[in-house]
Amino acid sequence: MNPVATPYFFYGLAAVAVLSAIAVIMRRNPVHSAIALIFTLLSLAGLYLMLYAPFVAGVQIILYVGGIVVLFLFVIMLINIDSMQREYQFNKQWLVALLAAAGLGVLFVAVYVKGQAIFPQHAIRFVEEKNTQQVGKMLYVDYLLPFEIASLLLLVAIVGAVVMAKKRI
């Protein structure tokens, strides 16, 4: 089945993603921010679908929206929102922020220009029906070591978080 109205979907999803991302940092109420974050993540999942990566989209929904944002909300509900709302929302450090953003932009452009050779001409496109299998193959066969190292890192982070958070183990 051929995709229909692809650009409109793209621009729609992109607009939702950007707008809700802005809402995430603009809202004073953290719960509202978290809800805006959900919209960002969902529209990103839509974008993944458009890139013929349904597996990534599914995982995006399950892990980020269903898991991580739920945990965000869990933590937000446990803390004192009242005092947070009286905090300054912005620190008025425009200069530093601008510099950092510009630096990041420059970095992106530099990487893209310098390393054009390593980017393929077109996005890697797996056959849609075999998408999940292909992702699995890449993760567990082609890039097994980096994948395992990443998971080890996460494990270390979890253990560290537990050690830091628990007063008594």
């Binding site: 719960v31 597996f55 399950i62 509900m77 075999k130 299998q133």
Partner: protein, 425 residues
């Protein structure tokens, strides 16, 4: 145009795959209507069955044997004053029931009621279902937080913790079923056919794999399939916040949990979503472990004769129901006071009988088969839900967590590893 519209009927794929958008809309409408009716029926059945378990009659006044009670309730809920607490966060308070209902109904897109009776078939079907189902939690959390009240807040805290923990166990069980689609090993039964060595996440393909391997996954690699099925069956009760895991809405502790502050129509949305979600997760269980739309023993009792014999079941079921209804009608008191009720029940019985007759007609008979077997299996789960509620006390929060993390998740991982080993050995 019309030809285009009718062409789909001869196709062997779901309307989504066929690109028949009109049919997609029709399917969605049918499913929405059917699920709504199912929820109404569940409401009545739950009250009646629970009542009979508890030595009482349940609703008896509104319509014969309380048959119209759900409609009366629905009417009452729609007409009730819609209250938004003063301190509530209005936007989030408004969004919460919408989110819950949307997610509950979105899952139905991929549920295969038959090989072609699904809105569409996604190649990440089961992943999509789990993902969307997990979004329902967000609605509950939003409801609890936006109410600006302590009981809903505690309810939504419980809900989020509970759902996040049980989703893991649920996922493990699901993965082991998905794994089975790619493993053609025969297990202890020694029966089986050929299967695709490539696994799949598509709901329809999972059922097809069970058909090709000649075994429901609940009985594959005995007892591994059964274990995974059991883990899922427990986790899905926790996912849908039903007894004995109904902590987020534990009425004796948190009055009504996360929906304490909701009333009228908004509350009825939560109710609708809860039952829709129950049916949805039961559908997952049926699809993954109980052979989806497949009738019992399609191979052992194969052949045209058996096919024909089994195809009478839907009509038979309706006849039995009609018979029960008519018998009850006869047994109603002779007093003229009961005339209207008696007539109503009689007409209802005849209606059931008429449906049964329609189901006898060969073309209908053949097409309704899959849906019938799927529905019957889901109905079994629905009955279990009611039974649990009548039997079990409620778990405490820490015990629930302990069960989830210390038993369900390790067991799920163990079953997953064992399944993988059983497949390659």
């Amino acid at each position: 145009m019309l030809q285009n519209f009718l062409n789909y009927l001869n196709q062997n794929v779901t309307p989504g795959q066929a690109g028949a958008y009109i049919w997609v809309v029709i399917y969605i409408l049918i499913i929405f209507a059917a699920v709504s009716v199912a929820v109404i029926a569940m409401n009545w059945l739950e009250r009646k069955i629970l009542a009979h378990m508890q030595v009482r009659l349940g609703p008896m006044r509104v319509g014969p044997h309380g048959l119209l009670q759900p409609f009366a309730d629905a009417l009452k809920l729609l007409l009730k004053e819609d209250i938004i607490p003063t301190g509530a966060d209005k936007l989030v308070f408004w969004m919460a029931p919408v989110v819950v209902v949307l997610t509950a109904f979105t899952t139905y897109i991929v549920i295969p009621f038959g090989p072609t009776h699904a809105v569409t078939d996604m190649n990440i079907g089961i992943l999509f279902m789990l993902g969307v189902a997990s979004l329902g939690t967000l609605g509950i959390i939003m409801a609890g937080w936006a109410s600006n009240s302590h009981y809903p807040l505690l309810g939504s805290l419980r809900s989020s913790a509970q759902m996040v923990s049980y989703e893991v166990a649920m996922g493990m069980a699901v993965v082991s079923a998905v794994l089975m689609t790619s493993l053609t090993g025969l297990g202890v039964y020694g029966i089986g056919g050929t299967g695709d060595t490539l696994g799949t996440l598509s709901m329809i393909e999972i059922v097809r794999a069970q058909m090709n391997q000649h075994v429901w996954f609940a009985f594959k690699f005995f007892p591994l399939g059964l274990l995974a099925f059991g883990i899922f069956a427990i986790a899905m009760v926790a996912e849908t916040n039903r007894a004995p895991f109904d902590l987020p809405e534990a009425e004796s502790e948190l009055t009504a949990g996360f929906h304490t502050e909701y009333s009228g129509f908004r509350w009825s949305l939560f109710f609708l979503a809860e039952y829709a979600a129950m049916i949805a997760v039961s559908s997952i269980a049926v699809t993954l472990w109980l052979g989806g739309w497949l009738r019992p023993f399609p191979h052992w009792l194969g052949g045209d004769t058996w096919d024909t014999a089994f195809s009478f079941f839907p009509a038979l079921t309706f006849f039995v129901l009609a018979g029960l209804t008519l018998r009850t009608t006869m047994r109603m008191p002779k007093h003229p006071y009961f005339k209207i009720q008696k007539t109503g029940l009689g007409v209802f019985g005849l209606l059931l009988g008429a449906i049964g007759l329609v189901l006898l007609a060969p073309p209908v008979r053949d097409r309704i088969q899959d849906i019938y077997w799927f529905t019957i299996k889901v109905a079994g789960f629905m009955y279990m839900y009611i039974w649990y509620r009548g039997t079990f006390p409620r778990y405490r929060f820490d015990q629930l967590m302990k069960l989830g993390w210390k038993f369900m998740i390790p067991a799920g991982i163990g079953v997953l590893i064992a399944t993988a080993l059983a497949g390659v050995l």
